[in-house]
Amino acid sequence: MDTTSPVPENNIELKNYTALSRETGPVNIDAPLEPVLDISDIQGNALPGFNKPHQYVLCFKMHDTLSGKKFLKEILPHISTLEEVLAFRRLYRARKKRLGYKPKDELGATWLNISFSYECTKRLTPSAAAFKSEAFKVGLAERSSSLGDPTSPDNEGSPHNWILGGKDNVPDVFIIIGGDRQEQLQEKVVFVKEIATAFKLECIYDEEMNTIESDGVTGLEHFGFKDGISQPGVRGRLSDMPGDYLQERYIAENVLPDSLLYGYPGQFLSWPGEFIFGYPGQTLDPLIPGSISTEGPIWTKNGSFMVFRRYKQDVKMFWKYMLDTSDELSKQGKFTDMSPQKLAAMLIGRWPGGAPYARVQDKDDKALGADKMANNYFRYASDSCPVNMVNGYQDNYPQSKADPIGLTCPMSGHIRKVNTRDTSNDAGGTLASFQQRLLRRGLPYGPPLFNPLDPNTPDPAKGNRGLIFLSYQVSIENQFEFLRNRWMSNRFSPRNPGGDDIAIGLNGNYDQDRVRAGMVFDEEAQPVNLSTSDQWITPTGGGYFFSPSLSAITHVLSESNNV
């Protein structure tokens, strides 16, 4: 691969997508009619996502319900909507396009969203008893064992030891604040804490999150991998106007059906009812909308369930395994050019820079990893090939080859465990992959560890680093939990020959000593078994929440007659 490929910023010419863009995709006679989203009612971190480099989580106990309702009325105008977040994003991109660089000094915004636990929601309105989701009702700590979490009280990852959301410290209110500038973010945090205190809300947890950048690669998590590349594209329009889509479509209109199926190349479009209540969900045919998603109380429309998990990451231990094991594999002569990075790329499914292992196997290609037009475009069941784009973009990177058995990209690789793409899985065809998608909105906490391959590298933070995982979905059970329980920590599904998700998974199966085992193939297509009981990921807190619409907060949750 020629690593001198044009950098993506120069390569992408967004067609007509301006700050006031009203047509972001093809108006094709074959295009399915997508619903108009209630953009002023949906919270903006669910859609389109804050996407801010600096964020803050605040969790509160609401000791007095009536005061809590007053707090909601007070905070309401500060809650950011889909419309506001998207408008800013488009303005930002338009300025970036004209300037030729990021308008960091010119533009900045600070966004806020809010979510509630089941117990809190019930106190705010009796109608919350109509929620159907068992997971939401019993809470994360009760569900923890089915997610592969440690159960022994001796283990830091057991809910007994969680710093938040364990047996006795479940928060009522979850607030996330995201901003472009840390000082503005801090001001907002102080502001929220002050009014919360005024209305008898006790802050029981707060944590700052920051994006990590290294060697020119942005958006890294602590193990050093570019995160958040494969987000689902969400169908839906912003107005009645045809083509006024939330998710931009980049494949040329005359390339059918690809232009109807994808946002960015490889980014399958999902119906919004998979993430936001009140809209059609997926069916077996991706171009036919399903029934309207609902959940218990009528006021859940335009709302979404939010999963919060605090994962501590042991970066040194992760890379020690990669170093030792890659060294061993090299000595056995099973792989040429084996390295810690290559082994990690096999187990993640992407290189640290984000390049899909299915497309490049020799070494990382940071240009590919950063190129939104190509970094999510690959298949497993069949070869991929370049498609015509609206902007004349040329995908000159190596294409992926059919790999149904996982000879190249291992079936136990993380991204292959959680998204089977065009291959079938234990739940049938691609519908299962569509219905298990999440809108991931997490960011790292704690300072990065530099030179993690050096066992003597100093760590002033003493291991206090990890990921604040956030996801939005309409079903905690069928989306977030399904991925954790049915796919990531099941050795045999979604496809075999596979194994556990060694890199990001957890194994809570009885008597397996938390060992994660998987299989990769060497260059002669012979299986090589890998396993470890190293606890690279330790859950240390979290919770299940509901993120309601602004109208639900206005008319139901903050309404004092509801108590």
Binding site: S382, T423, S424, S493, P494, N496
Partner: protein
């Protein structure tokens, strides 16, 4: 090296002491495979080799890749049609073979006959479990408290029991062709051991012929025989209302699995591009059940291997198997995790080999509580389906010599429809040109994207003849309607 003979499912040993039974079983499997190959040969243009092979007759050269094809035990058809909450209780009901299928309102009964006819009344009295993922279960509850005492799972194919009964099994064309020696007393012993001491031999046999109305090659109505008087009755009361011994859903049989495997080696295209996606492929090819987890997964997995140009077959011993139960998150009343070896007892099949044919999920007597007192993720077990959805089912595919074949891709033979107001399940596979039910729309009208592999010029010549061959799909398959699903 060629396989010497096919072995019984899960290497079960019941046939070992029955004269000639092991060879008879191998002959039946071999015959079903040959029949399936013959059907595929009829679909392909003249001179095009079939990629599906009989391991006792063909020893292809090249590297071999063994792939377990895994799917979930709980019926996706019920989930798509009713939602999970309603699917649990539905999954524990029995349904009449004379009625329409649950979750598939436009699909005809499995054995269509004029409603009210004598023929229909016979089917009406037979009941089956609506569990169409090659794994069925029976929930036994305390009659007073309704708490679950045990859940009995099976993946044993009905053919195994027909063979044990000494019946004559049908070939791929519906002809009675494979006669077994059988051992009725052994069969009765097994029923006594696993179901009830009250079982009598006469309870297990058909008391009359069972027929239904199909059509012949010219489309004329014709009576098709399924069971003859005195044959083993897979829907007997000890395998329906009063117990469970083996699979009962009419789609759950081993011959169907072989035919599906063979069908899936046919490459398909739409608008000149390969059909790859599992649900689109099952609709395009016309094999298997459209809304299940199993058939689209099996079909697409086999087709993936076939598109690599490999010989493909199902690994011996051919059977339908529970592979494992994942009990992560299963907890006792005191919050401790359960030991699956104590709670999920494998009683038939090969547990170590992941070929489980029968297993019982129950609480060890020493514990003093019931299955309903267990929780999964903090939620009490109220339905058998809550456990079933943690079971993996499998068959094992074997692909040999990728790159051997460059077969043409045939156009779609069938298509599917959906009406989401009625159900999210795809409710029927229609012959090309058939009318669409009111309210339904055609699915997968487009192929599923631009793929690197497209039709190449040297294959196009064979395609036009293949188009013609594919049109009379049902007739040329010769397979009886009740075996086509």
């Amino acid at each position: 090296m060629k396989l010497e003979r096919f072995h019984p499912p899960g290497n079960m040993t019941d046939f070992n002491n029955i004269p000639n039974q092991l060879q008879q079983w191998s002959d039946a499997i071999s015959g079903w495979i040959d029949g399936a190959i013959q059907i595929e040969q009829g679909r392909l243009p003249a001179g095009t080799p079939v990629q599906f092979f009989n391991a006792t007759k063909t020893d292809p050269s090249g590297q071999s890749f063994i792939q377990d094809i895994i799917w979930n035990a709980f019926p996706r058809t019920l989930v798509l049609a009713y939602g999970k909450e309603m699917a649990y209780p539905k999954s524990e009901q029995l349904f009449s073979l004379g009625d329409k299928r649950p979750g598939l309102p436009t699909a005809p009964p499995f054995f269509p006959c004029p409603v009210g006819s004598e023929m229909w009344k016979l089917w009406k009295d037979l009941l089956y479990r609506p569990l169409d993922e090659y794994c069925e279960f029976r929930v036994e509850r305390d009659p007073n408290t309704q708490k679950i005492l045990r859940i009995i799972f099976t993946s044993e194919p009905p053919e195994y029991w027909q063979a044990l009964h000494g019946d004559e099994l049908q070939d791929a064309n519906g002809n009675f062709a494979y006669k077994f020696t059988g051992d009725k007393n052994l069969m009765l012993d097994l029923y006594h051991e696993y179901v009830s001491k009250e079982v009598k031999l006469e309870d297990l046999a058909c008391k009359q012929d069972y027929d239904y109305m199909g059509t012949d090659k010219d489309g004329k109505p014709v009576k098709i025989q399924v069971f003859r008087k005195g044959d083993y009755n897979p829907y007997n009361m000890w395998n329906s209302t009063k117990g469970i011994m083996h699979l009962s859903h009419p789609n759950n049989f081993i011959q169907a699995e072989i035919q599906l495997g063979a069908d899936a080696t046919i490459l398909r295209q739409k608008n000149g591009k390969p059909v790859v996606q599992a649900d689109a492929l099952v609709c395009c090819s016309g094999y298997g059940g459209t809304s299940r987890s199993s058939d689209p997964t099996i079909g697409a997995s086999v087709n993936d291997l076939a598109r690599l140009g490999a010989y493909v077959t199902i690994l011996d011993p051919i059977g339908l198997y529970m592979h494992d139960l994942n009990t992560e998150g299963f907890t006792k009343p005191n919050g401790e995790s359960i030991d699956p070896r104590e709670y999920f007892k494998v009683v038939r099949g090969d547990e170590a080999g992941g070929m489980i044919e029968r297993a019982v999920f129950e609480v060890p007597a020493k514990e003093g509580f019931t299955v309903s007192d267990l929780k999964i993720g903090g939620v009490p077990i109220n339905w058998g389906g809550q456990v079933a959805e943690h079971i993996n089912i499998k068959i094992t595919g074997n692909a040999v010599g990728p790159g051997t074949f460059k077969n043409p891709m045939l156009p779609c033979a069938t298509f599917c429809c959906i009406d989401v107001k009625v159900s999210n399940a795809l409710t029927r596979v229609s012959d090309i040109g058939d009318p669409i039910h009111t309210g339904y729309q055609e699915t997968f009208k487009n192929d599923q994207g631009t793929f690197g592999q497209t039709l190449v010029s040297d294959l196009k010549d064979g395609l036009s003849s293949a188009v013609q061959e594919a049109k009379p799909y049902r007739e040329m398959s010769g397979i009886p309607a009740h075996k086509k699903r």
